[in-house]
Amino acid sequence: MSFYNICAQYDEECLKEQLASKTETDVKHTLAQEQISPEGFLTLLSPAAVPFIEDMAQKAHKLTLQHFGRTITLFTPLYLANYCTNRCVYCGFNTKNKIYRSQLSYEQVESEAKVIASTGMKNILILTGDARAKSSPEYIKACVEILNKYFPSVSIEIYAMTEQEYASLAESGVDGMTMFQETYNEKLYPVLHPSGPKHDYRFRLDAPERSCKAGMRVVNIGALLGLDEWRHDAFKTGLHAHYLQSKYPGVDIAVSLPRMRTHVGHFEQTCVVSDTEMVQNLLALRIFMPRAGITISTREKAEFRNNIMHLGVTKMSAGVSTEVGGHAKAEDDSDKSAQFDISDTRSLTEMCEAISSQGYQPVFKDWEPIFGTL
C-alpha cells in the first residue's frame, strides 16, 4: 500500500466537515497531549485552533529547542536548467512562457560551484525543469560529481524519477531529494498540470517513497501553499510525512512550506495564505512531527523569516538566485528567466547576521559524505 491509499481516504468534503467540527475543547485536549495523532494534527490546523496560536507557539518552540537546539541550517539552490515540458499554470518555467531557456555546461556548473563555495555555503540543492531529454539523469549525475568536490551535501529538486534512478543518484553522492506534490487535491491537480509528465498525479505522489526505498538520506516534501484550500494540503502533507517517517525510520523526513509567489505568466491565485495561517501551519506541523526538519525559503519576506526562526524552522535558503547560472552572473545581466520572484534577497553574510541576532547559530555543514571515504 502506498500513501495514495491513505490520502484517498480524505476527500475534500470530508476534510472540510472535519475541520469545521473541531472545537475549543478539542484544541485544549490536543495541546495537553505529549504526542498527537493525525486527528490531533487536524485539530491544530482547524479554525478552532486560531485563538490558541500563542500556546501552540510556546509548545512548538520548546520541542524545536529540545530536538534541534538553537540552530538553523543553511542551503542555497543552484538552477542547472529551465527547460521544461510541463504546462503547470502557476510556474514561471511553464513551457508556454516566453522566457530565455538555458542549461549549464559542465564548465558553467563548476564556475557556479566555485562562486557559491567561496561564500562558505556547504549545502547545495540542484534544480532543473522537467525535461528529461535536456536534463537527463546522466547529465544530473555528472553535475553531482562536479558539485561533490565543493559541497559535502548535494540534494536534488528535479522531475520525478524511478527507484533505480534515485538509487543511482544516491550512489553518486546525492544525499537528499525534495519533491513538492504542489497540491494533494487529486481533482484539482490535473487542472493545474494540464500536460507534460507532471500531469501524472500518482507517479509524483509516490516519488518520495521511491527515493526512500532507493537509499536517500533526507527526503523533503511539501505542497505549494495557495493552490488549494491550505488546511487540506497542509494536513495531507503532514500525513504524508508521518507515513514516510513511520515506514522508513532510517530516512530523515523533512517538510518545506512554500507559499505562492509572483512569476512570469498569469495565474489567478484563489487561495491566498495569510501570515497567521502560515504560522498556524508551521506550528501544527512541528507539534505533530517534533523531529522533522522544516524549511522556509526566500519566497518569504526577510522580516517574516526573522520572526519565525523561534517557531520550529530548522532550515533556510540564503543567497538565492532562481535563474539558471544566476550565482556567477552579474546582477545587471539578469535575463528574467527566474522560476519565481524571491522576497528575501539577503546575502549569505546578511542572513547569518540575522540568524545570530535572533539568538540562533547558522549551521553550514551538517553532513559528512560517507561514500567514497576511507
Binding site: R70, P249, G250, Q361, W367, E368, I370
Partner: protein, 259 residues
C-alpha cells in the same frame, strides 16, 4: 577523593562529566561551558566538522587540553560508523571514537547489533571505542568482548531531557559490567545526573540539557556540582532504604534487652 579517577582506555580523568558541542546558539560559548563544567572529555559530531573551513568551525572552540571524543552521528550502519571513525582519525581528531549507529530517526534509538560490529572492527584497529547503546546487559557483555573501552547506556532517548528512565537496567549494567558505565542521553536535570552517579555510574554525558538552557554556562556548573555530589554520595555508601519507618522506641526492644 584524591585517587578517585575515571579511567578510560588507560587515560585518567578527574572529572566525571562529559559534555557535547551540539545545539548551541553560538559555538563561541563552548570554551566558557568547558570551563564551568570542569569537563575533560568533549564529544563532537564529525558530520558538523568542516575539515576545509574557511570560516569559523566548531573545532576552533574546543580547548586543546580536552580529550576529543568524535562521534559517528549520522551513521546508519556499522560500515558507515567505521568510515566516519577512520575519517576522524585521518583528519587529526585522534583515535577516540563514540559509536552512534542510529537507523530510526523518529526516536533516535541506537542499533545494538550494528554498534557491536563497529566496536569490534574499530577496537581491533586500535581505537578507544565508547559505544552508545540501549541499557541492555547482553549488548553490554558483547561490547566488552568486542573491545569497548566503556559502555554508554542511554538514560532516555537522545535530546528528550526525560531523565533516567532506564534506571533498573542501568543499575544492572553497573553491577555486572566491569568497564566504566557512562550514562549518555536523556539526562535533563542536574538532579538526574546526581541520581545516576549515586547509583554508581562512572560518569554522565550531558549535551542538550546544557546547550538548550537559558544560561548554558551556569547549567554546566550545576551539572558539574551534581555529578560530584552524586559521586561523593556513592563513595560514602548511602544508608539502606526501608519501606517501613524505623521506630526510635521499638515495641519489641524488650526481647533483646540484657542480651
Amino acid at each position: 577523593m584524591i585517587d578517585d579517577v575515571l579511567e578510560i582506555g588507560k587515560v585518567k580523568f578527574k572529572s566525571r562529566l562529559l559534555i557535547g558541542t551540539g545545539k548551541y546558539a553560538d559555538d563561541s560559548i563552548i570554551p566558557a561551558v568547558c570551563d564551568s563544567s570542569e569537563s575533560q572529555i568533549i564529544t563532537v559530531a564529525m558530520r558538523r566538522v568542516d575539515f576545509n573551513a574557511t570560516t569559523e568551525n566548531v573545532m576552533d572552540f574546543i580547548p586543546k587540553n580536552m580529550q576529543l571524543l568524535p562521534n559517528t552521528s549520522g551513521a546508519r550502519t556499522a560500515e558507515e560508523a567505521v568510515r566516519i571513525a577512520r575519517l576522524a582519525k585521518a583528519a587529526g581528531c585522534g583515535d577516540w571514537i563514540k559509536i552512534e549507529v542510529i537507523s530510526d530517526n523518529k526516536y533516535l534509538l541506537p542499533d545494538g547489533y550494528e554498534t557491536i560490529k563497529a566496536t569490534e572492527i574499530l577496537a581491533k584497529e586500535g581505537f578507544t571505542v565508547l559505544p552508545y547503546v540501549n541499557a541492555d546487559l547482553y549488548i553490554a557483555r558483547a561490547l566488552v568482548d568486542a573491545g569497548a573501552a566503556a559502555v554508554m547506556p542511554l538514560g532516555s532517548p537522545i535530546g528528550t531531557n526525560r531523565g533516567l528512565k532506564t534506571r533498573e537496567m542501568t543499575r544492572i549494567l553497573i553491577e555486572e559490567i566491569k568497564l566504566p558505565i557512562i550514562v549518555d542521553a536523556g539526562i535533563g536535570r542536574p538532579s538526574e545526573a546526581c541520581e545516576a552517579m549515586e547509583m554508581g555510574a562512572d560518569a554522565c554525558l550531558v549535551n542538550t540539557a546544557i546547550a538548550t538552557a537559558n544560561d548554558p554556562v551556569k547549567m554546566a556548573k550545576a551539572f558539574s556540582n551534581a555529578v560530584k555530589a552524586g559521586r561523593e554520595a556513592y563513595l560514602s555508601g548511602p544508608g539502606a532504604k526501608s519501606n517501613l519507618a524505623q521506630a526510635s522506641s521499638p515495641l519489641t526492644g524488650f526481647l533483646t534487652e540484657g542480651q
